[in-house]
Subunit: 164 residues, 2 copies
């Protein structure tokens, strides 16, 4: 990202995290990867990001060890999974901004309970790992109708690829 040149002058781990995921689009790409998007064209269809930028971001995420490139698929690594609490807490915060609209619901797959804003299942009282999260469409999630958005509206487990 380069901030000054980079964030190294900041003796803070937040700055180093932002070097990896702080650029425009990057965190949305990571979110889509959690939702099961893996292919270049699918990221593109869902995000409307310029190809050159998408290419650059995916490459940097691979370099940083967040995604792993397997053939033509970009797959979340275990380091990448560590970003789930970040994506989730930031998303929950964003819900409170204007209308509290919940575009997507996050359920604990084991019991069907909605997980709370700090990532726990209220009935099991455990932290829910990203691959134990079930995704469901929420209110007002009908605006985009590209093929990827439609696939993402199908209930499915997080990190499961949206295509066979």
């Amino acid at each position: 990202m380069a901030l000054g040149k980079d964030y190294t002058s900041q003796d803070c781990s937040l700055a180093r995290a932002l070097e990896v995921v702080g650029e425009r689009w990057t965190l949305l790409i990571v979110r889509d990867a959690f939702y099961g998007v893996r292919r270049f064209s699918d990221f593109r269809a869902h995000l409307d990001v310029p190809k050159a930028v998408l290419s650059d971001r995916l490459q940097k995420l691979v370099e940083a060890g967040v995604l792993d490139k397997q053939g033509h698929e970009y797959v979340m690594t275990s380091r990448g999974r560590g970003l789930w609490p970040v994506v989730h807490t930031l998303g929950r915060w964003g819900e409170q901004l204007h209308g509290s609209l919940q575009y997507r619901l996050f359920l604990h797959a084991a019991c069907g309970t909605r997980i709370d804003s700090d990532g726990r299942c209220p009935s099991c009282t455990t932290l829910v790992a990203p691959d134990d999260v079930e995704l469901r469409p929420g209110a007002g999630s009908e605006r985009r109708d590209d093929p990827v958005s439609k696939l993402l509206r199908e209930p499915h487990r997080m990190l499961e690829p949206i295509r066979p």
Copy 2:
């Protein structure tokens, strides 16, 4: 931030959150606000951000209701406090990136226990609110020696102003 024009085409609360805190520098400014920085010149001394950019970001954070401008001080609002889990989880993730260096330690002020990566006190098993966090310098935190960095190395409670 404008992404395309803005993130509105993304029916996702993450995108709306990023409109507020997704621009360069913004989250570092928020972090400093948690640490007790309130004045324009102090943000500047600690972050080395161009004045015009700092001015712009502070203004946007005030507009978004994250900070409140009180005279010449920018004070965290309750909406801003909601960003603590985000700042904290992203910071903990950043620690694992290269050397696992912990520049700062976060303790539960009530009992002195270090809070874990999802923001809980292991001994009290409760979520720790930002104003119950005690800040301590950690390893390798001696690199910056501007006055603000020095003040921030003093143990103090989060959100307490670093100046009288």
